[in-house]
């Protein structure tokens, strides 16, 4: 079962960090880029969703790598 206080603390910490600013940027970037590849809204949204996930996963991987190498600094 999910630990609710821990979950809330995680999101509160995320809110106070700079990560939260990535959310509107990722959404806008994905939608605009996808809209320049398709004309139908359905295709745009599908492409944007996939691109948003790709960007988020890519940033998460980079974050984990940097976090790992920053340990002990």
């Amino acid at each position: 079962m999910m630990n609710l206080p821990l979950f809330a603390a995680f999101w509160l910490r995320l809110w106070h960090s700079g990560f939260v600013f990535a959310v509107p940027l990722v959404i806008a970037l994905s939608l605009v880029y996808a809209a320049t590849r398709h004309e139908e809204m359905k295709d745009i949204l599908r492409h944007a969703l996939r691109m948003g996930i790709t960007i988020t996963v890519f940033m998460a991987v980079i974050f984990v790598i940097l976090w790992y190498f920053s340990q002990g600094l």
């Binding site: 509107p24 806008a28 970037l29 605009v32 295709d43």
Partner: protein
């Protein structure tokens, strides 16, 4: 280009692009306006909401306050003290970023900024004999950085990305959507059906 080769059976229908040059200019002036002019209303709304959304957020929510004025991260300065190259990314938003140029011209002529410092450049080094009360009231870049940190940098990023995204929208208004190769299109588009490759005999004209 917008129009795919006619021999491609899985290609989407060609897009009607009304007056591409005028549409591209309108798309630069206000994000989405060029698409609205072309009758591509859904994409017009999408571009306007996404691009103006992050630009407005950077200008009003992150890049200023009541005391310092708003839009402080969008300004033009091109002198020995500061080369504000970010503006070359921000200016692609068009009309919403133009007040920065008006303010830059006024300040370079020795006049004080207007509109409560909206998109005005920060105060640079001024000789004491030219330091009027109005000019002295303007914040320096250090004042902005310390008062708005770290939002000042976020505001710069948001507004610059908005401008750069509008370059894509301008191109889309001019040339239509970039054609995706058929091999990728089958994965992306739900409306496209799998169409078998034509044999050499079928490709020959009757």
């Amino acid at each position: 280009m917008a129009q795919p080769p006619p021999s491609d059976p899985a290609a989407p229908p060609p897009v009607e692009l009304k007056d591409p040059v005028l549409a591209a200019f309108l798309a630069w002036l206000i994000p989405g306006l060029g698409h609205w002019y072309q009758g591509r209303r859904q994409k017009a709304v999408l571009f306007f909401v996404c691009i103006m959304g992050i630009f407005t957020y950077g200008v009003f929510c992150l890049g200023g306050n009541n005391k310092l004025g708003y839009g402080r991260a969008v300004y033009f300065a091109f002198n020995q003290e500061e080369w504000r190259l970010y503006y070359f990314g921000q200016m692609w938003v068009g009309l919403p970023a133009l007040p920065a140029l008006i303010q830059a011209v006024r300040v370079s002529n020795g006049e004080p900024p207007i509109w409560h410092g909206f998109m005005a450049p920060p105060r640079m080094m001024v000789p004491k004999d030219k330091l009027t009360e109005e000019v002295a009231a303007q914040p320096t870049i250090h004042d902005l950085q310390s008062a708005l940190a770290p939002d000042f940098d976020y505001a710069t990023t948001f507004t610059m990305i908005a401008g750069l995204l509008n370059i894509l929208a301008i191109y889309d208004a001019y040339a239509g959507p970039v054609v995706v190769p058929p091999s990728k299109r089958r994965k992306m588009s739900s409306s496209d059906k799998e169409i078998p490759e034509k044999t050499d005999a079928e490709k020959l004209p009757a």
